[in-house]
Symmetry: C2
Subunit: 207 residues, 2 copies
């Protein structure tokens, strides 16, 4: 499922960079398998809870998977949104100056890869790296917004094209947010620490 989500983000952003709208079709195909995996993973978790009544670290693992599953599915949705906005964008001639969507896309792809690797390897340091990327993605998005707004004010005819890029930047930002959520769940899963909302330590499940 993680692989399909990564592939989906990759296809959506490459299609955009290479101005190859046919690559968006692959995003829609991948969405179908992501959605099926989403339901199957949920069901497997519920069955596992019902049949094995896991405790402590095992229970945290299952609860983390239920949440990560939701984030992965929504990352797939965001890749689909990029495909829709990207199709509309590619109907117009490219915007110059080209804003730094490719850089932002690369940052977000890397965050996603690291979040998934952190989960597979249960690697807290790698999960922490994902959290550290968040500010840089936000800065990229703010840069893109600023540039596009100035450009639209100077050249009102580009408004429809520029709006598509603004929406794509938002889609990428959301994917980064989901990668951050996954990294937080990985840290919870490894350590039992709940670092969300400012990092205070929640009581342990295994008490």
């Amino acid at each position: 499922m993680g692989g399909a989500v990564e592939a989906s983000i990759e296809e959506a952003t490459r299609a955009l960079q290479e101005r190859a709208p046919e690559r968006f079709n692959r995003v829609f195909e991948l969405e179908h398998s992501i959605n099926q995996a989403h339901i199957e993973v949920d069901e497997a978790c519920v069955n596992l809870l019902a049949r094995q009544s896991p405790l402590a670290a095992d229970l945290r693992f299952v609860v983390a998977v239920i949440k990560i599953n939701t984030d992965l599915e929504r990352m797939g949705d965001q890749a689909v949104n990029i495909a829709y906005n990207g199709r509309a964008y590619l109907e117009h001639p490219p915007l110059k100056p080209l804003v730094d969507i490719p850089k932002m896309a690369e940052e977000v792809r890397l965050m996603t890869r690291k979040a998934l690797d952190a989960f597979v390897r249960q690697d807290r340091a790698l999960a922490q790296e994902v959290l550290n990327c968040d500010d840089s993605v936000d800065r990229s998005k703010n840069e893109i917004f600023k540039e596009l707004i100035q450009f639209m004010m100077k050249e009102p005819s580009v408004v429809p094209t520029a709006i598509n890029l603004i929406l794509i930047a938002r889609n990428l930002e959301r994917i980064g947010d989901h990668a951050t959520n996954i990294a937080e769940d990985v840290i919870f899963l490894i350590s039992g620490d709940d670092i969300r909302h400012g990092g205070f330590k929640a009581p342990q499940a295994s008490d």
Copy 2:
């Protein structure tokens, strides 16, 4: 927690409609209590799973709560995003023609209220009503986008103001999406049917 989320959406959208930026402060206060509730609810669910090993309908209830908890927290985040975008919006004179953000806000508030009521009363028909609202919210958003794009092309000086409204429309749309997710979880919780991704029936947890 649901009440705080509803209040937060209410404050954020009223502040915008009444051009009363001081009301946004309440949104930030509410976010704090929503975030605390988010952690507490998660922890209560993990403890419940660990200590009681619930089965069948009880297990579905806990799993549904874990998911609904995440959606509620993200609805709170979206209300905060509306507050940020709204603050920026209110720094400029109001846009005329006024696009139908108030109507969209009302639709989304109603969806949220119904999704929470459906959960509390375990009312499948009400959850279904929430799902039926989704198309209308999408139409409202598309209308708003179209109007604002045309307006920006005619009056490039309004671009920064209009972009804020576009982002607010997106924030409202996301709140509606989360309300839809909650309604789907309520239906799963009541019936064991997984109606996501086109409505096929997943195997039961209680087999």
